[in-house]
Assembly symmetry: C2
Homo-oligomer: 454 residues x 2
Amino acid sequence: MQAQRLNLMLDSVARLVRRGAMSHALNLLTKLRPVDVAQILNQLPQHERETLFDSLVRHDLTRAAEALSELETGRAVHLLTTLSRADVSKLLQELPSDDAALLVAELPEELRDELLDAMKVEQSTDVQELLGFADETAGRIMTPDYFALDEDVTISEAITALQRRSEEFEMAFYLYVVDSRNHLLGVVSLRQLLLNSPSTPLRKIMSTDVIKVSTGTDQEEVARLVATYNLLAVPVVDEENKLSGIITVDDIIDVMREEATEDIYALAGVEAEDRPLGSSINSVRRRLPRLLLSLGAALIAVAIVRLYSTAIERELWLAVLIPVVATMGGNAATQTMTVIVRGIGLGEVRWDTSLRVVVKEALVGLINGALVGLVVFGIIWVWFGWKVGAILGITMMVSLLVAGVLGTVVPILLKRIRVDPALASSVFVLTITDVITFFFYFGMATLLLKHFRF
Amino acid sequence: MQAQRLNLMLDSVARLVRRGAMSHALNLLTKLRPVDVAQILNQLPQHERETLFDSLVRHDLTRAAEALSELETGRAVHLLTTLSRADVSKLLQELPSDDAALLVAELPEELRDELLDAMKVEQSTDVQELLGFADETAGRIMTPDYFALDEDVTISEAITALQRRSEEFEMAFYLYVVDSRNHLLGVVSLRQLLLNSPSTPLRKIMSTDVIKVSTGTDQEEVARLVATYNLLAVPVVDEENKLSGIITVDDIIDVMREEATEDIYALAGVEAEDRPLGSSINSVRRRLPRLLLSLGAALIAVAIVRLYSTAIERELWLAVLIPVVATMGGNAATQTMTVIVRGIGLGEVRWDTSLRVVVKEALVGLINGALVGLVVFGIIWVWFGWKVGAILGITMMVSLLVAGVLGTVVPILLKRIRVDPALASSVFVLTITDVITFFFYFGMATLLLKHFRF
């Protein structure tokens, strides 16, 4: 739906909810796609959102479940906690198991166990199996509702099977071919069903070179495969090559958006749950830790400056130039980390190519350091004399070289030991770069002060 | 293909190319998917890459074109410039028109015109039409090779048409229904063709509530629609609702990756063509401008500090604390801009919700400022006395509030006047935040110095 129409609809719904005209509001919602219902829920103030969703659950459970699937996880979980346990359990049963697992994983533990008990046996088992896989792996995000047939089935039998069970498979573009023990043998696209004669067995038209992932594969890696090979869905197999589930491209798009947001946020020191329209208190909580870490780093710099108080008293320019000393290395380090972290995320930087990357980034740091150093030398010469210019220029070169090397090595090493490189690199690299830069600057200056007058 | 197998293959191909055993190398490539050929080309050193691609063009033009499609644009254009014009023209004719348009747009102008003349008439016209649309719009990235039929066509006729023309449509999951003048009426999924009786006319099964975009729609907006509505393809119409082309989900995934990289890079001041495995000189050129801008900002801070030299001579702590003054506002501003820019990119922050966002971020800035200010006050009290602590604490509060407001308002205004908010915000916001912070800090301190001893 066009944004304007959706906004008009939002205004009407909001007005009706405020007036308590619930049945009218619900009536408007029945004309919308589940995604649009979710968007309207998203944009309502918290109280109205809870009231409207509660009525929706009572009035049209399926629709409530569909809208819930489309909400952001944090918000959906919050809505669930405002409902009675019986309602939550009914809602979760309406959801596809992958979506249910996503939500259940975020619920408080005692509520989770109780719910899994209360849900119908089959559905609950599916959800429990998905929850058995680690967070952010293929096993966790896959749906167990795939469409698989035996290799001897013919095209016309396959079409009949598809027609009979079409309700179950919301997005089936591929049909998977398995043997009697559910080992994955091949894949057939729906298009191939249309293009071949009805009596052909699947065995004859299936492609056996299937791109697949295992249940333990990281979701970022799955996204990379889907993007590289232009897939609409990817099958997930266990360690014996038995088909466990599939992941469809729409879920992959969600993963990609989530991972990109995580990377962008992590570099700036914001936690992923910080939304522009969320509560202020939430944002404060998500950002304060990084601010306090940065404060720690700045105070370390203050401590270093304080060590050189006597020198500063003698030569005031040492203090006046601190803004340059305190910021340029950090800027260069952020640039480098950004390229490296994104490169890791997109699969361009891998362990086996890392030496080439480190050498290249060291070179970039050196060249940029020399160029910036030269400019600094020129400007500061005019302002404070050539000796001061030389000290600051050389400091820039060292600082940018250190920033380039640390900004590359640290994220690559962190990735190697399976720590999120985006999250952990930033403060660490910036602090070390600052410490080295400050010590170099004051150290060199005080050494020279013993022999020269400035 | 699994990463290990691909790496083994890469090693073999690289060895063969170095030895000049081209026909053996090409032989290995014939067993691979085009994407994998592209990945191998990507990872070869430049000279080997050019040699191998040149042989591939001579040996198997179709395969060369397919691999070219999968390469990153910059790299593909570079490879094209190493070939003869005749070869380039032949290659471009093999490409789907959207991919050809993407590459032609990046070629030097005189080469571009010459090539469009040399290419077969029909293909060249398609490419020229696509190039008529602005960069980063739906018109530019769509493919004109869609599959559309009249509303009175029956399912069995549609299947026959699909079988006859299946080669042309690489990724058809939807069949578009148009009237005699090509106005878009509805859409039918391939699945619906399988699920209904062969004699049904398309009119009866088509969905008329089609989610579509116009040729001028921004590609980021297209990506948002596809992600929100879980689409596999979206039709593009002109101002008269005539079907002009379609955009498939695999191209959307590329757009999303590209836009996310642009946002991440822009915030850190890196231009998008900076790749971890690219040349050092390229990276230097992409990063130096921002470093020099930041240097400018730092020198402005130096100029401000210099204005207060006399005060610093009297109270040295004024200088010693500069690292805190110079970095905290910038950190908070970066956090805020990151959330806002990403929110704009994901469509969560829009002009009509911007007031709510600004108020919220001002509040976050105020609360974080108060909390950080309190911590600073405590620590600096112990170190330099309570009066100094109070000055720095209040400075932090003001600085973080300013950072929050500017970090929100500036990107939203830039977006409103159609300037890329990620690209333009960062240096501007950081500089203004710093200037205000420094003036406030020194201004308040010197004012108090007239009345108190510290």
